[in-house]
C-alpha cells in the first residue's frame, strides 16, 4: 500500500509527483466536504446584505459578532441549549444504566425464557420510532409529561442496541472471573460494579457517546411533545431560526454554528469512542 516501498532512487521524481497529486486530491475533497460548514461560519459573521449580494463573500473582512448575541437571546438558543443538555443527559444516563443491567443479566445470569427475552430485546430494533408516535404522543399526554424533560426522555431510556452492545462486551470477559469473584464472596451486584463494568469500560464509553449523539440530534419527538420555548431543544430552536426573514439570515447561520459547537467539542474529545460506538455490530472484530 505504501509508496515508500517503491525502489530507492528509481523514479524518485515520479514518486514525489504522485505524493503531491494524492495530497491535492485529498485537499480538494476536504474542501468540498467542509465547504458548507465554512460558508455557514462566514455568513454568520456577515451583514445580511453581504450574504444576499453577488458575488458572494468567502471571507468575513469585517466580522459582525452581533448575530451570535441575537441568536443566543432573541433566538433563545441559550435556553434551547440548556434544555438539550438536560434531556440528552437524562437519556444518556438512562440508556447506559438500563443497558448495563440488561446486558449483565443476559451475560451472567441464568433465568427462564432467557433466549426469548433476548429476542424480544432485539425485536425492538426492528420498530422504527416513527411507527410508534401515533400512540406515544397520547401516552405521554396521559402521563402528564407533555412539555416536560421527562416526557422528552422517557421513550429513549432503554434501547435494544445498548443491551446488545453491553451483553457482547460482558460475554468476552473470561467466565473464570465470575467464578473467582464468587469465591471471594462477591455477589452479583458487587461483581457488576467493581469488576464487569470497569473491564467493559470501552463499550460503556462507546455506548455513552453514541447515546449522547443520538439524543442530542433528535428532532421528531421534541417537535411532538413540546410547545413554547420552555422545553424546546436546540434542534427545534433551529426550526424557529429557519423561519427568520432574509434580513436576519446571518442570525440563522449563527444559530446553526451554536447548535454544532457542543458536538464538535464532544467529538474531538471522544473521537475514538464514537468510532467504536458507531461501528459496533457493523464490523466483526
Amino acid at each position: 500500500m505504501s509508496v515508500e516501498a517503491a525502489g530507492i532512487g528509481v523514479g524518485r521524481g515520479r514518486r514525489v509527483a504522485g505524493k503531491i497529486a494524492r495530497y491535492a486530491l485529498l485537499t480538494v475533497l476536504a474542501i468540498v466536504v467542509l465547504f458548507p460548514i465554512y460558508i455557514t461560519i462566514v455568513n454568520s459573521l456577515l451583514v445580511p446584505s453581504a450574504i444576499t449580494s453577488q458575488p458572494p463573500k468567502f471571507f468575513p473582512t469585517n466580522p459582525q459578532w452581533s448575530s451570535y448575541s441575537s441568536a443566543w437571546d432573541a433566538g433563545h438558543m441559550g435556553e434551547y441549549l440548556k434544555n438539550s443538555f438536560i434531556v440528552t443527559i437524562l437519556i444518556t444516563v438512562g440508556q447506559v444504566v438500563t443497558a448495563v443491567l440488561a446486558g449483565y443479566a443476559f451475560a451472567f445470569l441464568q433465568f427462564p425464557f432467557k433466549r426469548t427475552l433476548f429476542v424480544v430485546f432485539l425485536a425492538t430494533l426492528m420498530v422504527p420510532f416513527e411507527v410508534t408516535i401515533v400512540t406515544n404522543v397520547t401516552t405521554v399526554n396521559d402521563l402528564g409529561l407533555f412539555n416536560t424533560y421527562w416526557g422528552l426522555a422517557v421513550p429513549f431510556l432503554a434501547t435494544g442496541f445498548g443491551a446488545f452492545l453491553m451483553r457482547q462486551a460482558f460475554l468476552v470477559l473470561p467466565q473464570d472471573l465470575r467464578d473467582a469473584a464468587a469465591l471471594d464472596g462477591y455477589g452479583h451486584f458487587r461483581f457488576l460494579t467493581r469488576v464487569a463494568v470497569p473491564l467493559a469500560r470501552p463499550a460503556v464509553a462507546a455506548l455513552t457517546v453514541f447515546a449522547f449523539l443520538a439524543a442530542w440530534n433528535q428532532y421528531l419527538w421534541p417537535l411532538l411533545v413540546t410547545s413554547g420555548d420552555s422545553h424546546r431543544t436546540v434542534q427545534i430552536g433551529l426550526k424557529q431560526l429557519r423561519g427568520l426573514s432574509i434580513d436576519q439570515v446571518n442570525v440563522t447561520f449563527a444559530g446553526a454554528v451554536i447548535a454544532v459547537i457542543p458536538l464538535v467539542i464532544l467529538l474531538l474529545v471522544f473521537q475514538k469512542q464514537l468510532v467504536r460506538g458507531l461501528t459496533a455490530g457493523a464490523v466483526k472484530g
Binding site: 422517557v154 421528531l220 434542534q235 440563522t252
Partner: protein, 303 residues
C-alpha cells in the same frame, strides 16, 4: 446460551431463585420502556386502524374493520408517498455509500498528516439533520447570493421546484450522513489484511485491480450492512423534509414519515396515521428480515 450453566458448579435452589429475581430486577427497566413505548404502540396501532377517526373532534370513532386499511393502502396518496420514500432511498443510499467508501479508501493511505484528513472527512457527524437542513435550506434560498452566482437559479426556486426539491433534500442528507458512512467504511477497511493487498501488488495488480478484486469483496459485509441500515434510516427521514419542504411541492417530498406526521398532527386523523405507521413498520421489517437471513448464512456466533 442457555447451555452456559456450568455442570461442575453445584447450584442450590435458593441461589438459582435469587438469580432469577435479580435477572428480573435487571431486565425490568428495559422491559417497562419497551412495553410502554415500543410494543404497546405497535399493537395499539393495529387496533386504531380498525376505527375511523370522526371528521369533527368529540364525535365517536366508528369501527370499520379492515375498510380503513384497504382505503388507505390502496389510495394514490399512499402509493405516491411510498414511491417518494423508495425514490429518496435510491437517491441517497448508493451515492452516500459510494462517496463514503471513496473517501475511506483515499484516507487509508500511509501519508504524513493523513489523520487530519480523516478528521475532516468524518466531520459531518458533528452536524445533526436539523443543522444540515438549516444550512442547506438557507443556502438554497434564492435570495442568498451563492447559488445564483454559481448559475444555479431555477424557477420555481429549488425547494419549491417539483423536479429539484427531492434531489435537494437528498443532497442535504448525503452530506449530513457522509461522516458516518466514512467512519463505517474506514472501520471496514481496517479488517482488510495488508498482506493480501501486498501479495496482489507483488502479483502485478494495479491500484484499481486491487480495489476491485481484493478490497471490495472483503468489504462486502460492511457495505451490505451499510446498505440495509442506510435504507432503514432513509425510510425514517423526517427532519429534513419538515425543515426544507414540508412534503411539498405537489407532495413531491411527502415521504411516509411525513405523511404519518401530517395525518396525525395537522389532520388529527389518528386512524389513518396508524395504518400508515403499520405500513412503515412492515416495510422496515421486510428489510430487517432480509438482512438477518443473509447474515445467518455467513456469520458464526461466538458462544
Amino acid at each position: 446460551m442457555t447451555a452456559a450453566i456450568s455442570d461442575d458448579r453445584v447450584v442450590s435452589k435458593s441461589t438459582r431463585r435469587k438469580e432469577r429475581g435479580l435477572a428480573l430486577l435487571f431486565l425490568a427497566p428495559s422491559l417497562l420502556v419497551f412495553g410502554v413505548f415500543v410494543f404497546y404502540p405497535l399493537i395499539h396501532n393495529a387496533y386504531l386502524g380498525f376505527y375511523r377517526t370522526p371528521p369533527f373532534p368529540g364525535l365517536p370513532k366508528t369501527y370499520v374493520g379492515l375498510d380503513q386499511y384497504k382505503d388507505v393502502l390502496t389510495s394514490s396518496d399512499f402509493f405516491d408517498s411510498l414511491k417518494t420514500t423508495v425514490l429518496f432511498a435510491v437517491m441517497t443510499v448508493p451515492v452516500g455509500i459510494a462517496l463514503g467508501l471513496a473517501l475511506a479508501v483515499l484516507a487509508h493511505q500511509q501519508l504524513r498528516g493523513i489523520g487530519i484528513y480523516r478528521t475532516f472527512f468524518s466531520s459531518t457527524v458533528a452536524t445533526s439533520v436539523a443543522v444540515a437542513a438549516v444550512i442547506f435550506g438557507t443556502l438554497m434560498n434564492p435570495q442568498v447570493g451563492l447559488l445564483p452566482w454559481l448559475g444555479v437559479n431555477p424557477h420555481p426556486p429549488i425547494l419549491q421546484n417539483p423536479t429539484w426539491a427531492l434531489p435537494a433534500v437528498a443532497v442535504t442528507t448525503i452530506w449530513q450522513t457522509l461522516g458516518l458512512t466514512f467512519i463505517l467504511m474506514s472501520a471496514g477497511l481496517q479488517t482488510v489484511p495488508d498482506e493480501l493487498l501486498e501479495a496482489a501488488r507483488v502479483d502485478g495488480a494495479g491500484a484499481w485491480a486491487r480495489f476491485w478484486h481484493v478490497t471490495l469483496p472483503l468489504l462486502s459485509p460492511t457495505i451490505f450492512f451499510a446498505v440495509v441500515i442506510g435504507t432503514i434510516f432513509a425510510f425514517q427521514t423526517f427532519g429534513q423534509i419538515d425543515l426544507l419542504t414540508q412534503g411539498g411541492p405537489l407532495n413531491k417530498t411527502n415521504v411516509l414519515t411525513y405523511f404519518i406526521y401530517t395525518e396525525l398532527i395537522q389532520n388529527s386523523n389518528e386512524g389513518k396515521a396508524a395504518v400508515l405507521a403499520i405500513a412503515l413498520f412492515l416495510l422496515t421489517l421486510l428489510l430487517a428480515l432480509a438482512q438477518i437471513r443473509f447474515l445467518e448464512r455467513r456469520v458464526t456466533y461466538e458462544r
